[in-house]
């Protein structure tokens, strides 16, 4: 996905766990994480 225009979106490293193992992906998270 393209970078969202709204500045409320934050780029985040998100951890994923599957039966094959663990890894991380870069996603956009909405809202604030206060």
């Amino acid at each position: 996905g393209a970078e969202p225009k709204n500045r409320k979106w934050e780029q985040k490293q998100v951890q994923i766990k599957t039966l094959e193992g663990e890894f991380s992906v870069t996603m956009w998270a909405s809202g604030t994480d206060d």
Binding site: A2, K8, V14, I16, K17, L19, E20, V25, S30, T32
Partner: protein, 453 residues
């Protein structure tokens, strides 16, 4: 979200209606008073979430669930149509969920709890390398904030607590307020018990309702009050108790022209206006200002009521209320106006004012004119959940049937138009689709027609 409980027996689920291709729900952002309204702009189609995987062996409620990633395809209020990742264009397993349900999480939630994502059984063998698939599908995509659950909890908290004392309009005598206590809170809606009704059904309203007031309000404004002697004397003495609800807890009306000393225009007793009938919210009626209270409040009386009443049918509106209008408002907006008693549908304001020797409340005192309309996104045909204000313990399925500036007409599905309600676009008694499910309130479904039964 409560899934069970006797109070939720037979609660309506939107399932069938949601599947209709032309179904339109008012967006959560239309309702400023509901949970997550301020961040719902960022809940978008295409977003990814982790959600309970029901496409597995032995799935049943209560058994520890497995999760998988899904994409939001459509949004209707708090509800979203989801498709598990890996189904491509295949829609057979698409499903609606409440995005605030305990089974929906931001991507990353499962890994944080050591839970592996398990692909749905239907597509289990579709890919050999699920890691590569997920990296491709998730990189650069959007998801919920990691504190989404905390945001939900925070936004559900009421300013009020059970046991607080307050003054509330008396449902059986609308010209007075009565001392009462909060006995229950559901989704910021307060169940209030009148002080003299141990076993009565009480009263329900939202915490931002203009029908509730702080301890001492009636005395301050000059409104009629039903209270015991002890309450009256301590209010007179300015003595407050720990469980008294104080002014800062209540929604404050806007500053009124009447508060200004050189206020320009003034409202005086005897002036005429148009007002929503407090006993029949589908009707806008010719009305008279009966008394001017302190702090911008006025008592009005609907001119079509029985003339023999002894003042028990007067009703208090704030002078900035969106439910009072200048003479001519209905005609200007092609809304039927209920004429005074003895007048027919060809009612004419000029003739009436001449005959009664009354004057109309000056136009400058009203908030309902177009330039005062706050931006809102309600449109005709949108579905919502709405309190039946004639029996406000009930939240019912409704549709926006008219929009006149900031004024909305809500039609209760399956009921005759005479049960419709005119409501302001900022009314705290309207909620998005899925709100009842979120807060654990029963939702009354559309009334079934005879043929359906």
């Amino acid at each position: 979200i409560k899934r069970k409980g006797p109070e939720l027996a037979n609660t309506y689920e939107w399932k069938k209606q949601l599947e209709a291709p032309d179904f339109a729900a008012a967006a959560v952002t239309c309702f400023k008073h509901v949970p997550l309204s301020d961040l719902w702009d960022n809940i978008v189609v295409g977003m990814k979430v982790e959600v309970e995987n029901t496409d597995c062996d032995n799935f049943s409620e209560g058994v520890p669930a497995s999760f998988w990633v899904a994409t939001v395809l459509r949004i209707a209020g708090y509800k979203a149509l989801l498709r598990y990742e890996g189904f491509g264009q295949e829609s057979s397993k698409d499903f609606w969920v409440n995005l605030c349900a305990a089974t929906v999480h931001p991507v990353g939630w499962c890994a944080g709890r050591g839970k592996p994502l398990i692909p749905p059984k239907t597509i289990q063998n579709k890919f050999k390398d699920w890691k590569q698939f997920l990296v491709r599908r998730l990189t650069g995509a959007r998801t919920l904030p990691s504190n989404f659950i905390m945001k939900i909890f925070d936004s559900l908290k009421s300013r009020f607590t059970c046991g607080l004392t307050l003054e509330v309009v008396d449902g059986s005598c609308i010209s007075q307020v009565k001392v009462a206590t909060i006995s229950k809170i559901v989704g910021k809606r307060l169940h209030i018990k009148y002080y003299d009704e141990e076993n009565g059904s009480g009263f329900w309203c939202h915490e931002d309702s203009p029908l509730i007031h702080h301890v001492g309000w009636a005395m301050k404004t000059g409104h009629n009050l039903d209270a015991d002697a002890e309450y009256n004397s301590r209010c007179q003495a300015g003595v407050y108790l720990d469980n008294d609800a104080l002014p800062e807890l209540f929604a404050q009306p806007k500053p009124s022209f009447l508060d200004q000393e050189d206020g320009g225009a003034q409202i005086l007793a005897g002036m005429k206006l148009e007002a929503i009938d407090p006993l029949n919210l589908s009707a806008i009626c010719v009305a008279t200002v009966m008394r001017v209270l302190n702090d911008g409040y006025i008592m009005i009386r609907i001119d079509s009521y029985d003339p023999d009443s002894t003042g028990s049918d007067w009703f208090c509106y704030h002078s900035t209320s969106p439910y009072i209008f200048p003479a001519g408002f209905c005609e200007m907006n092609s809304i039927p106006l209920t004429p005074p008693q003895g007048y027919a549908d060809d009612f004419d304001w000029d003739v009436y004012l001449r005959r009664t020797g009354a004057v109309a409340v000056p136009l400058t005192l009203f908030n309902c004119i177009d330039m005062e309309t706050p931006p809102h996104c309600f449109q005709i045909g949108m579905k919502l959940e709405c309190a039946d204000l004639m029996d406000p313990k009930m939240i019912c399925v409704g549709t926006i049937s008219r929009v006149v500036g900031r004024l909305l007409k809500v039609h209760f599905d399956g009921w005759e138009d005479e049960y419709d309600q005119w409501l302001d676009c900022e009314s705290p008694d309207m909620y998005p689709v899925g709100w009842c499910e979120l807060v654990g309130h029963k939702l009354e479904g559309p009334r079934a027609s005879v043929t359906e039964l």
